[in-house]
Every structure is written in structure tokens, then in C-alpha cells.
Point group: D2
Chain length 358, copies 4
């Protein structure tokens, strides 16, 4: 994370909703040293509220719990003070109304849950891809607060890889097969090891649908308060594999205009960093890393590139059925969840909130 | 394995070429109790020749080495007696000329290696799919011997699943992504565990090419000494995953004629056993098993169905890009190697050799 | 399993308590073809009662659910008919009073749970080790029924390996470290795969205590209605490892009398099958298999020997601190649970029940 | 790594011997940013000599190859310039004479190989434990050069944990069982994944012997050019487990004087950092971390503490056979190999070389 001072010169107070879950743990770990934010409150379900965080969390990261965080009391998931930013790692079965309640109370809510992703006035953001969609929050019904969302853990990497192709050639169709890490299913209880030792599972509930819809909204166009989804066909098959972190996607694409292999490679290679001038601490210098080794990218070896915030693309080849095929890898709990939410929060602070909040 | 008496009433002598490798070990394990064959010789490379099998093999199966096999002396890989059947689990880097030498000497050679698969007069056989191709051996240049081959470990299951679709609707194109087990890379040295703990690998040398070509020959038509490959486009992406046995393939197909989901399901369900009347000991009663549980088939749970000789199909759904998508699973070292070779040998004995050999 | 006719010539009705758990699933799989028993009822918790077994079970074995079993209705865990045998795979948190209730009602209860293992009048049985302890059931307070138990999944193999040493030399002390498979923690939820990918866990709740106490009762002496535990010191450290099935134990022993390595080897080698004359279908021909390969026994390769009912011993060496050290492996859900319970039931039928029941 | 300036104020030139192996890769990764050393040459076997490092190495770390390192030409394993430090990650089958040759030529050789560990005039060093042994190099036969060694990857953590007990109470005997990570066997070919999926292996060639001898030399006393080994009995059993990095050891100890659990805990807790005043960049602030969570330490979660240079101790309990038992974890390729060698090099530079080299 880059040590860039915040727009206001101060660290803004944030609250973590769903602080005890996997996403919550990653949010905490990444926010502890964040130059723009300081963790003001940890909020979670009834079961944890009132307890010391260190006593109630089933911590599942190799980085130790920050000492001061372990001492904090977990609070109930209710809004406290308008103007604070809420970073929500809540599970989808409860996130919907709680996030709305926070937004109504005056919180900018940065959500990782799926519940509001398809609300017409809620942006589904990958800052490197569609940061112009953020403007739609002006049309939300909340007086002060707002809700912004990041996509599903698989969608992020795939959409980041589709973006330069969409820009250069248009994407007509995408056939996708994922190999998804166990951490995507959380830690309590998560996937039983009896299901993943010497095994893979060709099904993840709801996942194919998300991959088939979210990229269209993200790659869509924003104008006058309306996001019009991109027109493309997407078909996904999702597998759980015995990997801890890092989702791999095997992608085949049909393009709208003819493109040589060189031009496809060039589109990926020249993607650059569209966020450079915004100076966001979590923005990777190279959001899309192109690999030339024939056996790359691989989850263990490349999920942590650019502090886990880069998507890796490799094995770019012509395809005998559609036009081109390639492999994308991204860190599902960082770029696909906690890191994505924090980058969204940074974008929000840099652009929309700079006036509003201060 | 069914206890069906052999056509001659006697157990025919077979030799195992490449007896110390993974495929050789599986061949031995499956032949020990075989009602038609008895293992007459174990042949392998210089390194092992002259040694007791039990002392030189790096045995990697949970079934113990059969006691009498362990005592046998490993012989050099040279032909001994015309008329014996050679079951070859030789590595592709040496299999080519050795198998030819055996065929010239008068052996029917049943090979698992890739070397002769695309010789125009060599059948690439899946008995349930294209047993009529066997007739082409009449056109081989060998006086008495012959060479027949089985496909690559990934191709088998995929092609078995494409067959009913090809018959009923015609297959125009197939997009394939595989999740392949570690045993496909053999045991000495095989894939280092440092490459497969908490990791997957999006590349297997030569594998995409095999999947993109072999099904066309197998699904092709035979007439007058010529196999004409089926016309279809195939594009494959192959991954190695931390699974011991069992290759999964995620397949999307475009069909030549419109087909309802019901008719596609029906085509799979009604596939039956085309080998029934031949009474082959290794032929599964249900070569294609259709799964209705949304999370099936899975390698650990379904690779051993029908003694490892069935392919499992599941998650049959309409596809938003091509027409339909589904998942195929088959046991790579059984149905995809040793079991396939033995079934080929049985077919050969039942049909072509019944006159010739006795 | 050996196809030995039952003492009565008929298959006795048994009920499975806890039929949906891992042990229940193994019990069902092993009883389906059992020559002495037929499954009369599947009983489980409120959650499952009233449902079709196939609809409520989270089946986690590679063998398919037997078709007729899948159709059976799961019943509540209450006794139905005196004289039936109850095979209990209930979890320890509920097993205690339920098993008593069944025994009071007149069921011989064959339990895998820990609850009654240390009741003074309940035998803790490994038929090959202490079948004379079975006589204690005559002293139980139940009019017709009784309770017999098998030991913890780790204890079984360790105790089977200690038995010949205890008989030949006396065991004064045993230092034990286990590497235990994931299936020991069950399947719902079991151990999260996030805890076992690229990891081991040096703690299993309650396990060290069981290993430190159970062998003493099993190796104890029975006389006049009293089991006097063997006097030996045992110290255990238990680890969970990413293995599906098969518990390994590294054991070091101090013996009461001096013993040469040859005599220790001989004691293991000559252990034989103390159950031979009883002709029990599940009794292994070789309950203790001695391995001479320096890298054996290993879970994947040796857990299934003798249909999963044998314990494997290997790496027998002098020890620089105590007297000898060796490694024991046994299948935790077969020899350590379902198979153990069935063997106990067979022993009960052959010896105690032959009069009582018929 | 702490950014402490080197004694001379300059970065000293070092050569990596065995630069393409796993230890070599770790050495490179950790030296790239080292404040005291700069990599002057990469040396390796014939096979790699003359090639660009990036082209010949089978890189197996998640950190990318440093760009300038990838460009360096690999040189043959021969000495070039006296006074350079050689950090040797050579395999034991060739390390012996090569390391001697370098020492004779005038290199201080810091070796990770086992070959010279028991030479009477070669120190076997863990700087936190026996840095006084370094003085013995004055008695080596080399004019300018010298050889110092670090222990086996399992020995390090175990010995660091035994040290405070030895100091406080004397250790009479230690029973040890290890669970060792796959990286300990290297990467080319390493352990085949077919041996470690759903499996553990109760044997590692030569490992038990190392654990039974090395701690005695390290914990021994140095006087007048002689190291007298500590008197204690050690018995080890070693297992390979499917973990990438991090060796766990389950240890039971008999102490020479009676000790309460509190005093044992206190001995561990108060161990501190004996290297503090030396200001070595790689020395951990807390070389011995005591864990109080009942399921800690675990390889994935704790191997990287203190940049991989700390040993973790947990589950400290009274033992029913010896006196106390506990679990030790350390990172086998960092604290047990590359990091250990670099820390030894730092110690050498700070103490012995400060006069000699400059």
C-alpha cells in the first residue's frame, strides 16, 4: 500500500461491518496501516456483540491480529455516527437491510455483499474499469449516505481482463470456467476438508449467475443517472479446487472486430494504470500483469503480486471455437473482496466525498 | 471385472511393456485376476531389466503387488514369441519404434502411448464409440502383428460424452477446460508436490493439442481402409489440480441441429452399453452415467464407478454462448489408460483375433 | 467380508443410530452385504426424522448409497422392538442417555461413542485383544439389553500394536504422537479446508486424554465382574493432518523385561488372528501386518488392507530414550469406528447372544 | 530484515553456491535487499553454468526473481576471488570437497550442507544458542578461509526450544516426532505429489540420525579449540506431511532437575534475544515465541513470524512418561536453511571477520 496522505490530511474514521468473517479479517489487516483510514468500530452479529474482538473471532490469517484491534469491543451492527464510512463484509443473507439502514443514517457504505449490486442506482465498481459509474450515487435516495459495491470475487479478475478487449475490439461472447479457492466459501464452517482433499467440486451456489451478469453491468455505460449494461453473452462453469486463495478463470472470447494475436497481446500489455493520477494508496501500479511463461499464472505463485491487487493474465492463444483464449488469476479475498472494497472507499473519498465530508 | 470365459476357453499370454511405470502397474493389477489373460512377461527399460520386479518398481498403488508378479524377473523390451499380446504402457519418448518392432515380430500390440495414434492405418479406439475402426488393422503392413491404440487420458471421457450428442444432433464445436489429476503425469518423478500444494497449474505439455485432435479421429467414419475424421471445432485449456486420480472436463458444445434440453438429457441417458452382446470382461454395464445431483460428478466420489470404467456426466445445462454445457469425469489411469488398453485387447481378442490367433 | 453364515442361519435385524453421520454412513455401507445382519431401521436426530434417507443425508463416501437404503424413511432415535441390535454411531453429545434408553428397552447396543466406555460394567472391546471382557455384560443392570463399546479411532491401532508387546514383555510406558485424518472430525461441518490446506493442527479436543486412558482398560484384566486396568504410563500428542482417512501413530515404548529387536519383531510377526476359530465375517485374517519397507506404512497405501480391518506396523527400531519405537497405521472410520462396531456386534452374536437372542 | 549498516559501512560481495536449488533461491530472495551483502556471483552445477540465471532456474518461490539476478550468468562452482563470502546451498552429495576448495582458496564458507557439520574444527551454529562455538574457526587448517555450518532444517527449531530448558534444568532425554514440510526435499524433483496427496510418509532418509546428533554438538561446550557435545539421549521419528513450508516437532523431555510447569513456561518465555547487542539484520527480536492458544503453533499460520526467523513453541504440558511435552514449529527453508546461513554470515562478519577481512 502506498503511503499517500489523505485528501483531508487526516485519517477518516471507518467502521467494519461483519468484522469477524473472512472479509472482515482481511479488511482489518489491510486497514491497520492505511494512511487514509482508521478503524473506529468493529460491528458484527449478536453472537459477537459485547465481546472482545480477540475472544470472539475465529482468526484465519497468517498475519497476527493487530494488538489494539484484539482489545476492541465488538458492537452490534447498528449505525452510530453519520459521516463515518462503513466497510461491509457482511454475509449476503443479512447485508441487504443493514447496509440500507447505515446509508439512511448517513454513512457512505462500501459493500462487498451481493445484495445491492444490481440496484439501478448503485454502482458496481472496479475503479480501474468503470469509475465513471460512481457518479450514479448522486441519484440515490439517501440524504447524506450512499451505497457502493464491488463485484463477486470471481468477476473482478475476469472483468479486468475483458476490459482492454472490450475497449479495443468489443467482446461479443465469453466462455468461462473457473477454478476457485476454498477461502471464497469463508471460514465458519467453510468447505469441509473431506470435500476438498483429493477432490474438486463442479458447483458453487449462485456463482455462475454472478459471473454471467456482473461483468455486463461493470462494462456498461453510464449516462444521466442510468447504467446500461454491455451487450455480450457470457456462459460460466464454476469449480471449487483445493487451493487456499486465488481464483483462476479459463476464458475464451469472441470479439466484435477481427484482431490479430499481436493486437490482442498489445491490448493487454498496454492496459496501464487508469487510476494513476488519482493517487489511491491501494491502486496497483500494474492492475493487469501479462505472463509469458507457458505455465503461468498460478495461484500460489502469483496471487500476491502488487500486494494482491493485480490480476494476472497468461496463456493468451488463438481459440479454435471462439477467437482467443487466456487464463486470468486474481486473489479472491484481496482483489476480489477486502482490497476491492478499500480501493472503492479510496475512490469515493478522493472523488465524491472530498467536498461532502470535510 | 466380469468373469466371462475367453473365446478360446484359455487365458492368453500377454506381455506388459513398460511394466514399472504407473500404467504398467495398473495393467498388472487389473490383469492379475483377468479371466482371458495371464501375464507371461514383464518388460521394461535397461535400468530395470534383469532385476526382480518387486525390487525395481516404485510401486504406487494401494493394492499390494501380486506376490508372484513381485518375484518375476523384468526382461528387456524386446519381442520374444510371436502371437503373444503386448500391452504397452511405454512412455511416448521410446514407445514408437519398440511397438513397431513388436508388431513386426508378430505381436498384436495394444498401446497406450500417443506415438501411433495418428498413423492412418492404426485405429484410435474407444470400444463403446468406434469399434468398427478396428477393421483398419487389416490394412496394416505387418504380416501377423498389428498396433491398436487408446486415446489420451483426457480424451476418453470427453469423447464418450460427445458420442451420443454427435449421433443425435451432430457436434459442431466444443469448448473444453480440464482439471486433471496428478497421476496423469506419472510417478517418477511426476509433478513435484511443491507445485501442487495450495496450487493449480494452467498448462500440461501437449495436452491441449491431443484433446483438440483425438476426438475427431475417434468420432470419424471408417470405410474401405480409411478413417475420415469428424468435422468439428475443438478448443481446449488444460489445468493440473491437486487430485490424485480422475480428470474433470467442463464442456460447452454447439450442436448442428436444434435440440431441447430434454432431448439432450435423453441422448445421454439412453446411451446404454453398445458392447453388451460382445461380452467383454472389462466393459462397464453403464459406460456413461448421468448425475442429477447439482454438485456431481466429483473425482474422489465418482472416479471408481463401474470399476473405474464409466464416464460420469453431470450439470447438463443450456449454455448462453454455445448450446449446452456439462461436466464429464473419468478415471484417467483406468478408463484413460490401463483399463482402456485392456478393453481394447478384449475387443481385439473377441473380434479380430478369434480366428487369427487360435 | 467373509461370507460366513450367521449362528442362527438368519440375518438379524439391526438399527443404525446416528445413521446420517460419517460413522452411520460407513455402518450402512458395510452392513448392506453383511451375511449376519440386515438393516431394519435408520434412526437419527429430529432434523432428519421423517425424511427419506437419500434426501437428508450428506453422503460422503465414494460407494453410492445403496438404492433401498436411500428410499428408507429416517426414524426418530427411539427404541422400537426389544431384541433388535442397535449399532450406534451417535455423537457423544447425545449418545449417553439414548444408548441407555435402548439398552433398558432390551436392545443390545453396540456403541462407537465415548460416553459409556469407562462405565465399570461396560466392556471397551477390541475382539482380537480383550474379548474375555465381554463377559462383564452379565453384570450390567439391564434386564435384556446391554451396552458394549469400541475404542476411539486412534486407540484401536495403537492398542492392537501394544498387545503382543504387553503379552511378551510387559509395557511399562508409551510415548505416542498421532497424525490423524480429517474424517475423524466428521463431515458436517468437519474441519474447514482453510485449516488443512498447506497446514497441520497440533491439537484435537479430548484426543490425548482418550489415548492416555483407553489402552489401559482394554489391556486390563477381567475377573469376577471387574476390569482392572493395565498399569502403564502413556503420554500422547495429537495432530490433525490433511489426509482423508487413516490415522498414523509414532510410538515409543519402554518394556518391563529386556527384549532383543528380534524378539520384538517376532512378537509382532507371530501375532496371528486370535479370532480365527470364532469365524466372524469382519475379522481380518491378519489383524496386525508388519511392514519391512522403510517408508511404510502410509495412510493412502495401507489403510485399506484386509478391507480396512488390519492395523499396520512398521519402522520397528531400537529407541535411544525408551526401548523400541515403531509406527502404527489403521483406518480410523473402519477399524476405528464402523468396522470395529460391526466386529463387536459379530462377537456379541457369536458368543453372548447365541443363547439369549434365539 | 533490519536495516542496520554493515560494520565496514559497505555491502560485502558474496557468492551463492548452488544458486539454482531451493536454498539458493531463498538465499537470493533474502540477500537482494540485505544491507550488508551484495550478490557478486551465482555458481551452480555444470548443467546451469554459462546460462542466464532466469533461463536455467526452476524458480519455485512466490516472490519474483529479482530482475538483475535473472540476467546474471551462472558460473561454474569454482573459487574466483579470496575474501569473498561463499553462501553454500549445495546438495550434500557434492558440497563436501567444493566447500573445502573454496575455504582453501580463502573464502569464508557459510554452508547449509551437512557434510562438514561434524568436522571437529567446524562450528555447527545457531547464533542465539552457541555463538561462542564460532571461536573454533581459529583452529581450522585454512590460511584465510574458513567453514561454518548451520544445522539441519528440523534441528534448528528443536534445538532453539531445548536451549532454555538445558540452561535452566538440564535436558536428560528428548523424544521427538516431526511433521516435515515438502520443501525440505527440494524442488527438482522433490517429493512426487502422488506421494503426498491424501498421504503422509513416516520416513525421511538420514533425518532421524541428524536430529539425534546435531542438537548435542550445538548444545555442547566449547573450550580451547574443542567442542564437547552435550550429554543427552535423543530419539526421533520423522514424517513427511503435505505442507509446503514449516516443520513441526512434537517433543517430550526428561529434565535433570525437577521443574514446575510454571518454571518451564518461564524458561521459554524469558528466553529473549541473546543477539540483541550484536545488531544483526536477520536476528529476530523474539527468536522463541510462546503460544498460548491450545491449537497453536501451526505451519501455515506461524511459519512466517519474525520474517520466518522465529521458532514457535506451544502446547507446553506435563508429560506422563518423561517430564514435559510441547510442540515446536519453525520455517524449514528460512530459519532452517537460507535464513540460518545468512544469520551465520552476519555473525561471522560482526565478530570474526571485522578484523580479518577489511
Amino acid at each position: 500500500m502506498k503511503n499517500i496522505p489523505s485528501p483531508s490530511g487526516e485519517r477518516l474514521p471507518v467502521e467494519i461491518l461483519g468484522a469477524t468473517g473472512m472479509v472482515g479479517q482481511h479488511l482489518i489487516t489491510r486497514l491497520t496501516e492505511h494512511p487514509w483510514f482508521r478503524i473506529e468500530a468493529l460491528k458484527a452479529s449478536e453472537r459477537s456483540a459485547g465481546k472482545r474482538y480477540g475472544d470472539t473471532v475465529d482468526w484465519a490469517l497468517p498475519q497476527p491480529i493487530p494488538r489494539d484491534i484484539a482489545q476492541m469491543e465488538v458492537l452490534a451492527c447498528e449505525p452510530s455516527l453519520p459521516g463515518r464510512i462503513a466497510l461491509s463484509g457482511l454475509d449476503a443473507d443479512i447485508a441487504g437491510p443493514i447496509e440500507e439502514q447505515f446509508a439512511e443514517f448517513g454513512y457512505p457504505v462500501v459493500s462487498n455483499a451481493r445484495n445491492h449490486r444490481f440496484d439501478p442506482d448503485v454502482p458496481l465498481l472496479i475503479p480501474e474499469v468503470n469509475r465513471d459509474h460512481l457518479a450514479i450515487i448522486a441519484h440515490q435516495r439517501f440524504a447524506v449516505g450512499c451505497i457502493i459495491t464491488n463485484p463477486n470475487c470471481s468477476t473482478v479478475g475476469i472483468t479486468m481482463a475483458l476490459k482492454p478487449l472490450q475497449d479495443a475490439f468489443g467482446v461479443e461472447a465469453a466462455d468461462i470456467v473457473t477454478l476457485q479457492a476454498a477461502s471464497g466459501a469463508g471460514n465458519r464452517p467453510g468447505v469441509s476438508s473431506l470435500r476438498l482433499i483429493d477432490n474438486t467440486i463442479p458447483f458453487i451456489a449462485g456463482e455462475e449467475e454472478k459471473i454471467q451478469t456482473e461483468p455486463k453491468k461493470i462494462l456498461g455505460t453510464y449516462r444521466d443517472g442510468v447504467i446500461r449494461p454491455a451487450e455480450m453473452a457470457i456462459s460460466a462453469q464454476c469449480n471449487r479446487v483445493p487451493v487456499r486463495d486465488g481464483h483462476t478463470a479459463c476464458v475464451k472470447v469472441a470479439l466484435r472486430t477481427r484482431a490479430s494475436l499481436e493486437s490482442v497481446m498489445a491490448a493487454f500489455e498496454s492496459y496501464g494504470s487508469p487510476l494513476k493520477e488519482l493517487e489511491l494508496p491501494s491502486a496497483p501500479d500494474h492492475p493487469l500483469i501479462v505472463h509469458h511463461h507457458p505455465a503461468h499464472p498460478q495461484p500460489y505463485f502469483h496471487r500476491d503480486l502488487e500486494d494482491g491487487m493485480a490480476a494476472s493474465v497468461g496463456r493468451i492463444q488463438p481459440c479454435g471455437v471462439l477467437d482467443y483464449k487466456f487464463v486470468v488469476l486474481s486473489h479472491n479475498t484481496v482483489r476480489g473482496a477486502a482490497g476491492a472494497a478499500i480501493l472503492n472507499a479510496e475512490l469515493l473519498v478522493r472523488t465524491a466525498l472530498s467536498q461532502a465530508i470535510r
